[in-house]
Symmetry: C3
Amino acid sequence: MSLLKNNKFTTVKDVADIEGLMGKALHYKSNPFVDKDLGENRKIGLLFLNPSLRTRLSTQIAAQNLGMEAVIFNVDKDGWRLEFEDGAIMNGSTSEHIKEAAPVLGSYFDILGIRSFPTLQDQEEDYREGYLNAFIQYCGKPVISLESATLHPLQSLTDLITIQEEAAGKEKIKVLMTWAPHVKPLPQCVANSFAEWVNAWGKAEFVIANPDGYNLSVEYTQGATVVHNQEEALQNADFIYVKNWSAYEEYGMMPGLHADWMLTNEKLALTNNAKVMHCLPVRRNVELSDEILDSSNSIVTKEAGNRVWAAQAVISELLKMNS
Amino acid sequence: MSLLKNNKFTTVKDVADIEGLMGKALHYKSNPFVDKDLGENRKIGLLFLNPSLRTRLSTQIAAQNLGMEAVIFNVDKDGWRLEFEDGAIMNGSTSEHIKEAAPVLGSYFDILGIRSFPTLQDQEEDYREGYLNAFIQYCGKPVISLESATLHPLQSLTDLITIQEEAAGKEKIKVLMTWAPHVKPLPQCVANSFAEWVNAWGKAEFVIANPDGYNLSVEYTQGATVVHNQEEALQNADFIYVKNWSAYEEYGMMPGLHADWMLTNEKLALTNNAKVMHCLPVRRNVELSDEILDSSNSIVTKEAGNRVWAAQAVISELLKMNS
Amino acid sequence: MSLLKNNKFTTVKDVADIEGLMGKALHYKSNPFVDKDLGENRKIGLLFLNPSLRTRLSTQIAAQNLGMEAVIFNVDKDGWRLEFEDGAIMNGSTSEHIKEAAPVLGSYFDILGIRSFPTLQDQEEDYREGYLNAFIQYCGKPVISLESATLHPLQSLTDLITIQEEAAGKEKIKVLMTWAPHVKPLPQCVANSFAEWVNAWGKAEFVIANPDGYNLSVEYTQGATVVHNQEEALQNADFIYVKNWSAYEEYGMMPGLHADWMLTNEKLALTNNAKVMHCLPVRRNVELSDEILDSSNSIVTKEAGNRVWAAQAVISELLKMNS
């Protein structure tokens, strides 16, 4: 029985058994090389249209733990700009259409991972996930999202296993995702994705706090309590997921900087001695204070370490589905 | 008996047995991992002075299929600019001379692959293949061209096996290489190389169609029929190899844009239901129309997939010659 | 008994047994794959904040020879700029603090290698080795310097084994490190490091020749004879280590270009038919003349080839200390 519902991993909707997938990830954490034969003579291609540290390295390592060859390709830097528009007359700056690039890559690899950020210019276009969907449509192989325009499922699976590890034994937990300040407009994908996964998981009381104007799409937040008063939301929280995002409605804008939304020790005192999470990279003393990040409440680097096991569980399932 | 004549692979002239090498490539397509022990503890270094997608990935995968470690090095981006001129006083922008870089790389690897484009500024200089020849002269190891200033032999070997697969059973085939429009001056290497290989293979009626002013060097085209009337050339073609190139005579220039040379369904109707090939990347609706690329006549992505097997056959032969 | 004194390799002070480590490196030169099982399922991450050719490739190959997975990460190009300042309010161009990046990288790898050049703006800051030390402090894993602000120990270990190979049998050798001209200010690290290692080794008469104003820090040169007359210093030298460096005292400056300090055959005639070394890259006819580099006295490419064995010995020791 596969833990995935679809032959891809781009959203929690592709997952058949969330807890099973989480268990598998934690199993690999204890036994990294137990399935080293599974990926023999199989290859994963990891395509980056945007920069990456954790996703790049953790996915590469996860694949190697499974005995696969992992090949990194920085699309723009190693190659050239790709065209995604149907019917384009390619007399400009793009040198190759996704309709050619994707099937060729599909012929070279058994699994493809793709990172492609939103432009934050056009909500409808970004939320259509044109890049990711074109790859899926044309490559003919299972695709893993390494962060798309709207979601970051490997991050969210990581976040859930981290919460599960830290909450061990606790009956009822309260998870708060709080907006944090930043210096430039960021995608909504990590926040959308975390909301989507926590809601689908259904094991936590889930609150989202953000300033007016920063509500996320209800497509992902539905099921959570959305509030605009951070102090109130902090009460009794066991986990605080800190993340900046730009506005969804007034798309890509920053309607207010709200520097006072940065988490501090004073605010942490309102919680149930909450563990503090962040997907990283984090801008110190803008998004999160030194005093929080340097305290024992911060589990951000442990969380990042777990990225390997989430990726390994997902790749493993796709290998089994395609063998 | 080696299928190569020389301890390098830079032109069809290095090949002792073209059909043998084609057969070996197709054998690997059916049995990718049959020689996985051959490359144990051996290393190939792939040096890119210019961008690459297919060549980079397919050569890396071919090496891995043979059990080798493949290491990619983007010369300018990971390192610094190399000097190739003899006697240069290096007080400018180049930091290392090929006379040092090549033997050092040779000491690290068992085989070296090198990509180096022409400048398209000076015909004589480009056709002297100074970069490639300097590597060969100074590195002390077998060298594979990953596309040089004038030729692209891994592409051409790929093209021949693709034609052979598609022509299976056919007694007599007509291959047409036709010039296609582009937005900027491109090297002549893919076209030179295809001509060189089809002529050396000798199994096809071979026609080259290009506008006035775009004749290739007779060094490579000799043996083919060169015409300037595309419609006439299309008659009864079984394979159409589409490619843009800049002028050889008026070197690197574009004497006429000839947008009407783009292949369309209407033109395809003149042929023997020809298969359409292109080395990729291709600019849609400039070099080749959507209607052709999206039709079942197009075999461009299948062709690109075959790059792996061509590279694997060549690396395999070099490994055997140097063991 | 470990050949290293500390669980890192950043200076000769981390080495417990210099001759033992040299012997181990030369043993790997004869038997590259003898310890291929040692690194099974273990990973080295090689982080480059600056360009590299030899260090990148030789360290990667050394790790592969030991059966490890080696993963390269170009920090700025693949990821983003890191912040190293304590307490920084990160509202500028840095996206991630070393306090997060280092422990995350430490969680992904068994050993980390790091290259980070000096700014040459502020002597005290560079010589504090803030970048390297922050990585060591926060990553929680053994660190290998791939060239830091002030030292380049893998190069120096390489240099010693190269001298040992070439001097085989000779009772007493004279090693001269001579400053050479360059077109721009270079770090002092290779020169510092060579001085530190030759002094610690103690098997050679060691002379350093440089123009007035180019004295290195006595921290590293102590034990050597420092002279300002190159001709005198060349007398009876068996090995000449050629290297440019910018001023240490008038920090990062070039107090005089001294083109006449370039080594020529005429100067070489003063020596004991000395072997000429250089860490590469070398600017021909600026730092070293063609006539020297093309002569049999030059051992610069052999020296560079030895980089693999030095790296392999160091990685091997760290693997054993951490198993």
